[in-house]
């Protein structure tokens, strides 16, 4: 079943065209990797999917679960199961990690017509999901990402993802900044969240992550377009031959 269908997507920021016709279809149960040179538009695509207002969509469409995704506010997308793990998670002084997560979970539940999660259940879930990504409990009560190390921030992103249980998880370079052990743990966490009903888009520069989170499809993005797609072996080939090779053969 098609979860996400992107057709001819163009987007710009401050009069600069960045996405120049992206086509991508992601079905439930799949993992898609997106690779590509710096500045090719990978984060832009991720942010447009999450609903960041600074990016103006100038053409194309995005259908998510049969609905026009671009019409929805960022929080509505989240309530319907879209999650973006940021390349650069934001530090927010004065907002506690836990309070904010609980608000986020309960707003989603209310929006879906479900009962709010009580304090006890929430804490139980926190304990369980923190274990999944081996997150230091001391970080939970701190202010959101404030003073977190680069790796701790990334781990916190995946912890939040595990708490929110998205249908479409978009991981924007979650691997960069993680040490080797952390990479394995975080990838393991993602794998445990995988099911036939959800899907992941994993943006990365390194084939190594894909050893742990094995993709069904690998895409190469360059200059605002997906110029090549292939099986997981494409990632290996890229690592060996570099992007110029793809550009020449695209």
């Amino acid at each position: 079943m098609s979860l996400l269908k992107i057709t001819g997507l163009h987007a710009r920021i401050e009069d600069k065209d960045i996405l120049k016709g992206v086509d991508l279809q992601v079905n439930a149960g799949e993992v898609h990797a997106i690779m590509g040179p710096n500045g090719s538009g990978k984060s832009t695509l991720a942010n447009v999917l999450a609903g960041r207002a600074e990016y103006e969509v100038t053409a194309g469409s995005v259908s998510y679960l049969g609905e026009d995704l671009l019409k929805l506010a960022p929080e509505e997308r989240a309530w319907k199961g879209v999650f973006l793990a940021f390349q650069y998670p934001v530090e927010i002084p004065g907002v506690s990690n836990m309070n904010f997560l609980r608000t986020a979970i309960n707003e989603a539940r209310i929006a879906r017509g479900e009962k709010e999660m009580g304090g006890k259940d929430f804490l139980a879930l926190v304990r369980e999901r923190a274990k999944l990504v081996e997150m230091d409990p001391a970080l939970m009560n701190r202010n959101l990402n404030v003073g977190f190390s680069g790796g701790e921030k990334k781990r916190n992103e995946i912890f939040q993802m595990a708490m929110l249980e998205p249908k479409l998880g978009i991981l924007d370079e979650t691997d960069s900044g993680l040490d080797i052990d952390a990479l394995r743990i975080v990838a393991g966490g993602v794998n445990k969240l995988r099911s036939k009903d959800n899907a992941f888009i994993v943006v990365t520069h390194y084939q190594r992550l894909l050893d742990y989170i094995v993709p069904d499809v690998v895409h190469v993005m360059a200059e605002g377009r997906i110029i090549k797609s292939g099986p997981k072996e494409l990632a290996l080939e890229l690592e060996e031959k570099g992007y110029d090779w793809v550009k020449e053969h695209a």
Partner: protein
Amino acid sequence: MESTMILDEPKAAVLALLEHSEWPEAGQALARANELPIPGRRTEQWKYTPVAKLFNKSYGKPDGQVPVELPARLPFPATRVVFVNGHFRADLSDDLKTDKGVVIDSIRHHLSHGPLKANYGRIAGIGDRLFTAMNTAAPTDGLIILATKGAKTSQPVHVLRITTAAAGNSPMLIQPRDLFMLHEGASLEVIDEHVAIGAASASLVNSVRESVVGHGAELTLHLLQNEPDGPADIGLDAVQVAENGHFSVDTSTLHGSLVRNDITVALEGSGAHAELNGVYLLNGNAHCDNHSYIGHNVPDCTSDELYKGVVGGKATGVFNGKVYVKQDAQRTRAYQRNANVLQGDLARVYSKPELEIYADDVKCSHGCTIGRMDEQAIFYLRSRGVSEAEAWRMMSHAFVAEVLERIENTQWKEHLGRMMDRKLEDL
């Protein structure tokens, strides 16, 4: 162009109301009030807070005996003292004679007593401040608190000042006048809450409070202005702090049609400390002006100021913080910061730090910022499923939390936090 002649005319009608008062020094004060011009846009200290309109109407004398329904008590123990339209209401107040060595009473009962005579009018000199002259010319009533050597109150004093909608809706001029005196080692905590019942926006509350903080004494004031549809609220806190004395105040303005808070602190003995904190959350047509003056008059004193505000709608926030360091006030430490978040295109903030330093061995810092809420942070929260409005509230709360964190009384801090959250819901 403004001319004093034209501006002076409406003042006469207001001042007529203040004649024949028997308060100390009333005659001179009235004469001075007649001389002083209404501050206008060209008066530096009042530039952004237009008060001329307060003199364009005729006020009546406040009625203190109107029946009122008291708001709910604070969620923690406090001795409540109630003033209605400036008049002390013993019938609505708690028993005020509970703590040894502490006198809490209507100031009217003490006008002929020695301690009052020794200090009244001395801390809040009139200078060229018209509102002080008016207040001194004919106070309505007020609160006197005397704490003898080493005396402490067992719980905070909660002063509830209620302004009602006047009968026939004619505006009232209410002039509260307080005197707090803390002798050596005494300590006192006062919550001063202004509330309005009904449409009281045409009235004017012009307050003056003098506080003397003795050697090693400690005075903590929590001021709360929570008056939707409330009166214009012009107030002066004049404080004198002796050696090793400690004065701290937090001013929270959640509503207010026209609010002006003047705080003047004179640090008169080495080791004296003043801490001024403030939060203002403004929307609609609210106007809040926090003006402070801290005089470091002797060596080795410290002061610390932090004011933060979120200003939306067509509201205006004004901050002016003057720190004056006398030539021989060496080793002064004075810190000051004002930070503002503007929402929308019609809100305004004017912020001005003023340091005047004549000593050379000092550490002073000041900073002011006026900005927008961090869009990236808002997007981050929304992308996790926090609605835009809630994300904005969270960020606003986080922004002012730094001020709340400075409040030592945790019960007050939590109560205030909840009230602020409620206010943020409609910002």
